[in-house]
């Protein structure tokens, strides 16, 4: 049940981020200055932490989405759904341990 709640919340959060992300990227069609000005306001420590949260949401939704697909199509999927949820958590922790330090170094050292 919690996997479902998290899947919904992360899905909605990513959707709204995507709307904004397409609009800010579209500024490359306006001018280099316009794009750099807006992207520059993102390149702050607060936003850097926000990006960690966003990537965390995407990585969870992605791994849990693959789990849902396995539950639907793999004949033993329902039997192992709980074990697969723990695998999702483990893969999420490993991915975030790899991503977070690397990202925060990029955010704080420039």
């Amino acid at each position: 049940m919690w996997s479902w709640v998290l899947h919904r919340i992360t899905g909605v959060a990513i959707f709204f981020f995507l709307l904004v992300h397409i609009l800010d990227t579209a500024l490359v069609r306006v001018s280099p200055e316009a794009y750099n000005a807006v992207i520059g306001t993102y390149q702050t420590p607060i936003m850097g932490l926000g990006e960690v949260a966003l990537v965390g949401a995407i990585v969870f939704h992605a791994f849990n989405g693959l789990r849902i697909i396995l539950i639907d199509f793999w004949s033993k999927g329902t039997r192992y759904q709980k074990a697969m949820f723990y695998v999702v958590i483990a893969l999420w922790v490993i991915t975030m341990l790899g991503f977070t330090p690397r990202h925060l170094i990029n955010v704080f050292s420039h």
């Binding site: 397409i22 490359v28 069609r29 991503f99 990029n106 955010v107």
Partner: protein, 148 residues
């Protein structure tokens, strides 16, 4: 007073017996696009946030350098279409689950459809009509290959 409650999961109207089963294709689309999106999004995050200086390197010149290559243009356009339709269809599920009242539900779904259609159009145009070396712009803001 005996109020009657529908049995749980009673559909609003009976399932169609004839014609295309759109709900089924939507269901399949969520799964197929999901698998492809894992590759596209993880590749996108890796190229833009992990390689080199990550976020701090992102500016006009970075985007220009990427979209000078048709490979990344098509990568990003595929991601745009798949993710917006996947996300839009997912949002439709949420409206079906939580929004009350036929007018309100129709308005929300129309808003989702409009947002998805407009952003797909805008994003596709931007990727394919993008000019990495616009004339009259300061060279230090442009990709290095513009100088050549």
């Amino acid at each position: 007073m005996s109020a009657t409650l529908d049995a749980p999961r009673t559909p609003l109207r009976p399932a169609r017996k004839k014609g295309v089963n759109w709900e089924k294709w939507g269901w399949i689309y969520m799964r197929v696009s999901g698998v492809v999106l894992v590759v596209l999004i993880f590749g996108h995050l890796f190229m833009n946030l992990i390689v080199g200086d990550g976020v701090s390197a992102i500016d006009f010149a970075f985007v220009g350098g990427k979209w000078a290559d048709p490979f990344w243009q098509w990568w990003d356009v595929a991601m745009l279409w798949l993710a917006l339709i996947h996300g839009g269809n997912g949002m439709r599920t949420l409206v079906n689950d939580y929004a009350r009242g036929p007018k309100f539900r129709a308005a929300l779904k129309l808003a989702i459809l409009a947002a998805v259609a407009i952003l797909i159009l805008l994003g596709t145009l931007v990727v394919f009509t993008f000019e990495p070396c616009p004339i009259g712009q300061p060279a230090d803001l442009l990709p290095s290959f513009c100088a050549a």
